[in-house]
């Protein structure tokens, strides 16, 4: 079991190897990647900003809770920070288990919980040069000021 905020590209093959063990018959992996479009706008890249000590604590808590709920120690979660280009992996979750259903259930539970509670934010950079903080998968146009101009003070 290991969790980390990382500044360099995530090595997927290393994660797969890390959770592998002779008692496991199933390995489930989820990778979040930077895509080229959101809410109809063309995305250039995403800046991931974390409240690092709390995000690390929450990631570790998620892995522990998933380990208890789904009965496996073979869990690795890595989340990138900093600027990511299109196609780069922002998060990777690998879970291995003797059986496939709990492996897949755990992976899904972790990504949903991570999105709900780990203090990480994304500033989308658009091809037109503007930027905007993303709220719950949508850009933060409604309900708060538009942040096109914003510099990220924690980058």
């Amino acid at each position: 079991m290991r969790t980390a905020l990382v500044g360099a590209p995530i090595d997927i093959a290393a994660l797969v190897a890390e959770v592998s063990a002779p008692a496991n018959g199933a390995l489930s992996l989820f990778i979040g990647t930077v895509r080229n479009e959101n809410d109809g706008r063309t995305v250039d890249g995403i800046e991931y900003n974390a409240y690092a000590p709390m995000a690390e604590r929450e990631l570790a808590a998620l892995a522990r809770e998933a380990s208890e709920r789904f009965d496996t120690q073979h869990i690795v979660i890595e989340h990138r920070t900093g600027y990511l280009a299109l196609g780069e992996a922002s998060v990777a979750i690998a879970v291995a288990h003797p059986h496939r259903v709990p492996a897949m259930d755990a992976t899904r539970w972790i990504i949903e919980s991570l999105k709900a509670r780990v203090p990480i934010w994304k500033l989308e950079h658009y091809t037109d040069g503007t930027r905007q903080w993303v709220v719950q998968g949508h850009s933060a146009v409604q309900g708060s000021a538009k942040m096109d101009h914003g510099e990220d003070p924690h980058a």
Binding site: A50, Y51, R117, G150, E151
Partner: protein
């Protein structure tokens, strides 16, 4: 009175123009008192009615007590993954 540097992130930091805001609250203050003090100190921040607050890297409830040694942060809606 105790003085606290409340951490701000992402859209909150942009709206406040800074990554932290200094507030003074009474001894024995609760999380809600800190939030009220931030509203006064940084009116441009336009916080929601009940913003998420972390105390020492854990999500806190409104009536949790805070002290001068605590690390307090306002947490905008998270968007990791």
């Amino acid at each position: 009175m105790i003085t606290l540097d409340v951490l701000l992130f992402a859209s909150y930091a942009d709206a406040a123009g800074a990554g932290r805001v200094r507030v003074a609250v009474a001894e024995g203050a609760r999380v809600t008192d800190v939030v009220d003090a931030v509203r006064t100190a940084a009116p441009g921040l336009a916080l929601p009615s009940r913003p998420l607050v972390a105390v020492n890297h854990r999500y806190a409830k409104g009536d949790d007590p805070v002290g001068a040694a605590d690390e307090i942060a306002l947490i905008p809606p998270v968007a990791g993954g």
